[in-house]
């Protein structure tokens, strides 16, 4: 049997928050994993998945694709954040940049570009997400659905090494539902692990392989039989 490769590992990690306390946790996420986060308290699940995705306010040791990252090493952590796809209520767009610039900010920064050259494949992505006519507009000139479409396109175009989905129903309006499903299937085929939290019974495009149970005194990852 083929051994799964570890994508991300959290060792002795703590998520620091003034209002909600979470216990220390250690677990690893392997390729092909589809992990659902479960808790009796939705706020705890939200804080937990946000902590894993945005790596703040997190303390402990993080390994990503074999490299060790210290949450206190700000510059190094930015390189890791670039490789994480996060979709959730905390997603936002820069209000002083166009939709297109928002989508490709990672590319413009990484490759030192002032403008983006669009090819047919990008156009197709924009069309599928229903944002093609709005790409040169500022976010405030568009609707909530367009913004959600932009988050989806932005996060999946990053080609993330891991995808975190918090309350995915926010991204399933109109055309977006199919777009999200297709991208999740695509990620799954590329063995990209998916971690999600939903309080509305969201079913990802592929089978859930593991669950992370968030309790008051412990957080543990269990295999779904």
């Amino acid at each position: 049997m083929e051994q799964s490769k570890t994508i991300m590992e959290f060792k002795n990690c703590n998520i620091l928050d003034q209002n909600i306390s979470l216990p220390e946790f250690s677990f690893l996420i392997e390729e092909n994993d589809v992990v659902e986060i479960e808790s009796l308290d939705d706020e705890k699940s939200s804080l937990f998945i946000r902590g894993l995705a945005t790596l703040a306010p997190l303390r402990g040791e993080i390994m990503f694709k074999g490299s060790l990252y210290d949450p206190l090493d700000y510059e190094n952590l930015l390189k890791l954040k670039r490789q994480i796809g996060y979709l959730g209520p905390l997603c936002s767009l820069l209000s002083n940049r166009s939709i297109l610039e928002n989508i490709f900010l990672f590319k413009m920064w990484e490759e030192n570009l002032k403008k983006i050259k669009l090819d047919e494949s990008f156009m197709n992505e924009f069309k599928q997400a229903g944002i093609l006519e709005y790409i040169y507009k500022r976010p405030e000139k568009t609707t909530e659905e367009i913004k959600c479409g932009t988050y989806l396109v932005r996060e999946f175009l990053k080609k993330p090494g891991i995808v975190f989905l918090e309350r995915p129903y926010l991204f399933t309006r109109g055309k977006l539902s199919r777009f999200l499903c297709n991208n999740l299937k695509d990620s799954s085929q590329k063995k990209v692990p998916i971690v999600f939290f939903s309080n509305t019974g969201f079913v990802p495009a592929t089978e859930v392989t593991h669950k992370i149970i968030v309790e008051n005194d412990k957080i543990e990852k269990i295999k779904v039989e």
Binding site: T54, A56, E75, L78, K79, K81, R82, Q83, I84, Y86, L90, C91, S92, L93, L94, S95, N96, N102, L105, F106, M108, W109, E110, E111, N112, L113, K114, K158
Partner: protein, 264 residues
């Protein structure tokens, strides 16, 4: 006794909070300077575009305010001082009072009123709306992408505004001097030119650098303090504007004292 304890406690807490914000601002400045000096960030074109944008907003758009103000001040200054100053000392007074003291402070006030409040509001709004997190999730550093252009842009803009203020106020001064004494433009410029030395230019440049850094760092820091609610933004903006003015005033005095002690 109870009130004394209360008063000393409050004074102590206020002092500690004050020192805390001073050290935090210094820390922010250090991190931005480190990025500037090392220059090892990737999106240089985006940063450069941000600097140009900031200079446009802070300097170019402020011209329509700074030009009439400096013209009026120059005219009034020369009109009033010419009553009790001889022609040769008028130049010296103009350089010290108008160019070295009033010019920098007036330019700083215009920048504080126009741009400092705008920067604090913008940063506060971006922070509350998690836009800074979005930048980080794209692998970009908000300190390089957002803060560095503002520090460089505002500092450069203030220096440009100083120069404009000085030139236009001298022009305004000539108008009043011409009205009362029929002095020729050539003679007037020679008078001013003789009074201006290299140390004056140095003093003005040091003030521009200090004011630019103070205004931008205070605004960025107070903007970043707004975290949870949009209602925090106006509070931080008002605080930033007052602090900018206060710190600029203090640094203006310090720089002037240092230069006069050195005999410059």
């Amino acid at each position: 006794m109870k009130y004394l304890i209360f008063l000393s406690g409050k004074t102590g807490r206020t002092f500690l909070n004050y020192m805390d914000s001073i050290f935090s601002m210094s820390g922010l400045l250090y991190r931005i300077l480190k990025i500037f000096v090392k220059g090892n960030y990737s999106g240089k074109k985006l940063v450069w575009a941000g600097i140009v944008e900031q200079i446009y907003f802070t300097a170019v758009q402020a011209l329509k305010i700074i030009v009439p103000i400096s013209l009026i001040l120059g005219t009034v200054f020369f009109l009033q001082f010419s009553k009790f100053a001889e022609q040769h000392s008028l130049g010296n007074i103009a350089v010290i009072f108008l160019l070295r003291e009033t010019g920098p402070m007036i330019s700083a006030i215009v920048v504080i009123l126009r741009s400092a409040t705008a920067v604090t509001t913008e940063i506060g709004y971006m922070n509350v709306r998690h836009e800074m997190d979005s930048i980080q999730m794209a692998g970009a550093d908000p300190l390089a992408l957002i803060c560095l252009p503002r520090v460089i842009g505002i500092t450069t803009a203030i220096l440009c505004l100083f120069i404009v203020f000085n030139l236009v106020s001298i022009l305004g001064g000539y108008v009043s001097a011409w009205a009362i004494s029929d002095i020729s433009m050539h003679r007037f410029l020679v008078l001013i030119g003789k009074s201006i030395s290299l140390t004056d230019a140095l003093a003005v440049s040091v003030k521009a650098l200090a004011f630019g850094v103070i205004i931008s760092i205070v605004c960025l820091y107070r903007g970043f303090e707004a975290k949870k609610s949009i209602t925090e933004v106006p509070v931080k903006t008002a605080r930033a504007a007052v602090e900018c003015f206060f710190y600029c005033l203090i640094f203006n005095v310090i720089i002037s004292v240092v230069f006069s002690l050195k005999g410059w």
